[in-house]
Amino acid sequence: MAAVAVTERDPAVAAPEAARPILMKGNEALAEAAVQAGCDAYFGYPITPQAELLEWMARRMPELGRVFVQAESELGAINMALGAAATGARVLVSSSSPGISLMAEAMSYMAGSELPMVLINVMRGGPGLGSIGPSQSDYFQATKGHGHGDYRVPVLAPSSIAEAVALVPDAFELAERYRTPVMILTDGVIGQAMEPVVPTYRTPAPGPRGWELTGANGRPPRVLRSLHLRPEDLEGHNRRLQAKFATIAEREVRWAGEDLDDAEIAIVAYGTAARVARTAIERAREHGLRLGLFRPITLWPFPSRALAAVAPDLRALLVLEMSAGQMVEDVRLAVDGRSAVFFHGRTGGMVPTPGEVLDVVRRAWALTVPPPDAAGAAEAAAVCEPDPFSLLEAGAWAAAGRPMPSAVGARNGR
């Protein structure tokens, strides 16, 4: 086989009947979306709850003459991806939380060497071996750097299988446009669930070329590396990377709002948690509580500006996560003390129920007043002292322009 599938985009791989909804398992839908997006090479290692993705690729990639390798470890898989990406191939890797931790090293190298790749994390409960249940506890890892060094990667968070399918080609496009790894952050619910999907497959055009390794035939050799031993050189490299990250943060933010127009409280949630939130919102509205949903789709770059713009019209934000509270930090940074921020989270593979979300909503409602009257805010703050040991009420907030109530300050060691 000559210079591989890198340039081949075979239309014959198109799904047989694209317009009819078909029942698909999340992991398999993600895999097929990557196949249809023109993925040239896939590298993986078995881990629950993403194993079906690997299995799908084991069947599909060889039948299309593309590359599939089951590696000896997640370290092996991600470094094979690094090598394939260096040749300009469109590369996919998938794993779940513990495996993603092993990949942190190569992710840092790939960010530093500016190699495009899409990495899917089907999150499970942690820390450590944790559980195989769904979780969102890798938010920090995904959005705050993952490996060592100053870098960020775009993180896309689908909340349905259909959205996952649509985000896969977008992820490849982002990866190649900015020459960066991109992560699709999903969880065991979306990976394992089956939903009717009208496949909206798309094969993005290849990103800019001229950097990839092909053998230096008739041109000067190219070297792809993150090593810049002279501090002056490395700082220059970092400045360039940071400028790229700033461009991504400026241009690639995505979020979705639902029922926000008349909402008094917005639930901020992504992925599976957003689906629980949606049910809670429907039920709340049946009881006259006007709730809305603010759903980040890019977790990095986080839709901070959009959230800060929405927040003043609300009496409170309730952050719902399948973690002990990770995205809530970005929400607090976004509103910068100007809005009440409550938190509810479940961990370990537990999925919050709409009922328990409504309990927290009711409490938040009782403790806040509608904007713009912030008179009750300080009083509410004093009552709403956060209990860091209770996941049900690990919420803290501050009123605009007011000092944090002393009880809260004392608890926080101020």
Binding site: A71, L75, A77, L82, L213, G215, L224
Partner: protein, 263 residues
Amino acid sequence: MSTLMPDTRRVIYRRPTMLTDRSTHYCPGCGHGIVHRLVAELLDEMDLGPRTIGVGSVGCSVFASDYLAVDFVESPHGRAPAVATGVRRARPDAFVFTYQGDGDLAAIGTAEIVHAAARGERISVIFVNNGIYGMTGGQMAPTTLLGQRTTSSPAGREARTEGYPIPITEMLALLPGVAYAARGSIADPQLVGRTKAMLRRAFEVQLADAGFSIVEVLSTCPVGWGMTPTESMEHLARDVVQTYPLGVIVDRVKETAASAGRG
């Protein structure tokens, strides 16, 4: 010079085109320069340069890409065989080699080298073994000889506490995916010539799509060993080979051809 005199000068030694025109950062007496040159000569002689993608490693040879004029990709420490797997699988028409030291290949990268070999990846591994972590200041490596003093085995490596040197090339040679495995040395010009022949064979094996190939090259680290360059060459020739015997360990292509011939 009179124009009547014919020019009888003859070039008998030149810089291979695949070797860049710059001085290396390697210490005096270090073997990397010799091995780089052998690789560059072979890339020239076999006309492989235009299709070669080199895979770097971490250690003193991390800058090999500065000296070998081919496309190069860096690897995290020990991961070069996995990176090379990705390169070769995605670009089957490329000639792919890794250039790794003994700390990189035989300690942190053990899983990657074993499984690349087990899969019979069509890559050639140039494994430079000087028995020490040179770049970080001369610590004990998995290949360090028994009794050898290093900064992290100051009393000398003792089997009971630090274990035994790993004959990793012999271990790899057990795997059916390994088409060719050999160990050479740079201790004298004759051995350098033999090592070059081994490297040529390893490259041919890849070009013949026969499987994985590896050449271990015993090399020196005068600074890490606390010796002069001359002493370190003598030590290499006299002592190191006691633990790491030289020669072809396996050549499955030849064996297959031989058994086919008998049949």
